[in-house]
Symmetry: C2
Subunit: 340 residues, 2 copies
């Protein structure tokens, strides 16, 4: 509506002076400063972000690329990121890739075209290729949750290997020997690492795993459900199920319920990633939980350091330890649910 030109007219100074006042740099007399501020206020002046961005090549925008914001995992990470971003004058734009390479590519192009100042991404796969255009244009990138091969960027992630090992051991301790692992997309490191942790736990106890009990596919609920359903229909015996994330656990639960299995009565269940609100209402699922909000804020802080170049050393790899919360679904004797 009203532009800097009108503010300058009303304040009786030049455009340049208005710009100096508003961006707080250069020499400006107190009288001019007051006049400009008053004029801007009176006209309810709002600077044009696009004009500014065109000139400065900066947008004040930071983007988060995630598979699915409808996931307690990513939505809390998003809050962690946003809170830190806002506190530093940046705004967050969230993009759902739905784990589609094509969607991710389209978003990256859009973000580049929008002169986004930094990107935090849980990439669709392990390949550095899709993310290369960002680095080529010197847009700082921080990875979250998912490692990417040979990609020189900071990353913050959970310890999937040891986490899944802990989770598996929990079920082994309860006497389970035939445990089904409902994994996600093997094109992503979390899935690969969780498999590694699972196998390590079995190996250390001298248990020979049954390959049929390890399934993988997409990170979608329906896919997990279908796979567990198939396991049951093919009569592959198992006494416990492990979900590689909350979607996998939910899918497994659906299939189990459909076939009339009681949890934990007939089949024990545990999974990676907590579903906060669910456990708040009715502590049910035994989980390996990760400090998601913290992961988000760490990621954003590292991104900030890259953006303002206060750090330009080698890529940092921040691994945050998850922890086990035992609830009913795994069938352990639990006295109290020790929530924070």
């Amino acid at each position: 509506m009203s532009s800097i030109r009108e503010v300058s007219k009303r304040a009786g100074v030049s455009i340049a002076t208005v710009s100096r006042v508003l961006s707080n740099r250069g020499y400006v007399s107190e009288a001019a400063r007051v006049a400009v501020l008053r004029a801007a206020e009176e006209l309810h002046y709002i600077p044009n972000v696009m004009a500014r961005g065109l000139k400065t090549k900066r947008s004040g925008l930071v983007a988060l690329l995630v598979p699915q914001i409808v996931s307690t995992y990513f939505v809390y990470a998003a809050r962690g990121i946003e809170d830190v971003a806002n506190k530093n004058g940046y705004h967050l734009i969230i993009c759902n890739t739905d784990d589609s390479l094509e969607k991710q590519r389209a978003y990256i192009d859009l973000l580049i075209g929008s002169s986004v100042d930094g990107v935090i991404v849980a990439s669709v796969n392990r390949s550095p290729r899709p993310l290369q255009p960002l680095l080529q244009r010197d847009i700082p990138v921080v990875l979250v949750d998912r490692f990417v091969d040979d990609f020189p960027a900071d990353i913050v992630r959970g310890d999937s290997i040891n986490g899944m090992k802990t989770l598996t051991e929990h079920l082994l301790d309860l006497g389970h020997r035939r445990i089904a692992l409902v994994n996600g997309d093997m094109e992503t490191y979390p899935a690969r690492d969780r498999l590694v942790g699972f196998q390590a736990a079995l190996r250390e106890r001298g248990i020979v795993g049954d390959d049929r009990l390890v399934t993988h596919g997409t990170w979608l609920v329906q896919d997990a459900e279908r796979r567990v359903d198939e396991l049951i229909r093919r009569k592959v015996p198992f006494s416990a199920v492990l979900g590689a994330n909350s979607f996998m656990s939910v899918g497994a639960m659906r299939a189990l319920r459909r076939h009339g299995f009681a949890v934990p009565g007939d089949i024990a269940l545990a999974g990676f990633d907590d579903v906060e609100i669910a456990s708040d209402l009715d502590p049910f699922l035994t989980v390996l939980t990760q400090p998601v909000y913290t992961m988000g804020s760490f990621a954003m802080n590292m991104l900030l350091e890259r953006m303002n170049e206060s750090y330009s050393g080698p890529p940092r790899d921040v691994v945050l330890a998850p922890w086990l919360i035992v609830r009913r679904s795994s069938g352990a004797r639990v006295s109290v649910d020790e929530e924070a």
Copy 2:
């Protein structure tokens, strides 16, 4: 990186021609079209959104203003909005207001400055004032969930009055007479309407409510928890609790658990809004659920119609009916959890 000028050089045509090809308007020969497309491809040209926006005064951006994206309610609405937006060439930017007027104002200024093409908002309060700047600049607005007084905009919302009436009747049918209502912010219509529905249900059954049993405050979990806690400590008797949304229910549940009350054994609990993933894992909370994703897509469709001016009639008020899902927490005899 590479601009339209470089594309024009490589294609051997003028900038104007490149623009015409890329935006698909005006006369362009087939030869020129092919040359431009090839040059753009080879240079991996990405149009500069800011330059374009500066000129056209449009950004291709649609914004969603919500109190909290970390709420199953709003996150699913956001997906509904985003899916429709993307399908129509728009991108969504999500802004958390945390129910703070100040934050909302800051975001609205930012959005105006960014030439956002449309806004969907669940406003912090019922006043039209904070939203006025958008209309003044002819930025289409659609309200979602929360009605705003005397504000000429389309709205899509749930039927809070009848919804809460249904929910209350459910508890009354189970024999409860002293029901505590844990409400949210009375500066918002959902809270007011839910109170109206609650009182209507009591009145129709000829029950005299106890004012002490109706509490309200913010929409935060901790606040609800504190209020229920106080109710218990002050020894106000009640046999059932009603949460005005999922945060209120969670807060209530926390307080009840802390005081050692079993749900539904000692106290029955039911609430507005489903917590999808929770119920998927372990059907616990009796809820009045709303078609949230649909609400989002409806809202976005209405916004699109306003943006491309295919509809410019009077404000539409779309009220979507919620429905009751009875689960364990209310203490009714439930055989199967009839999820879709």
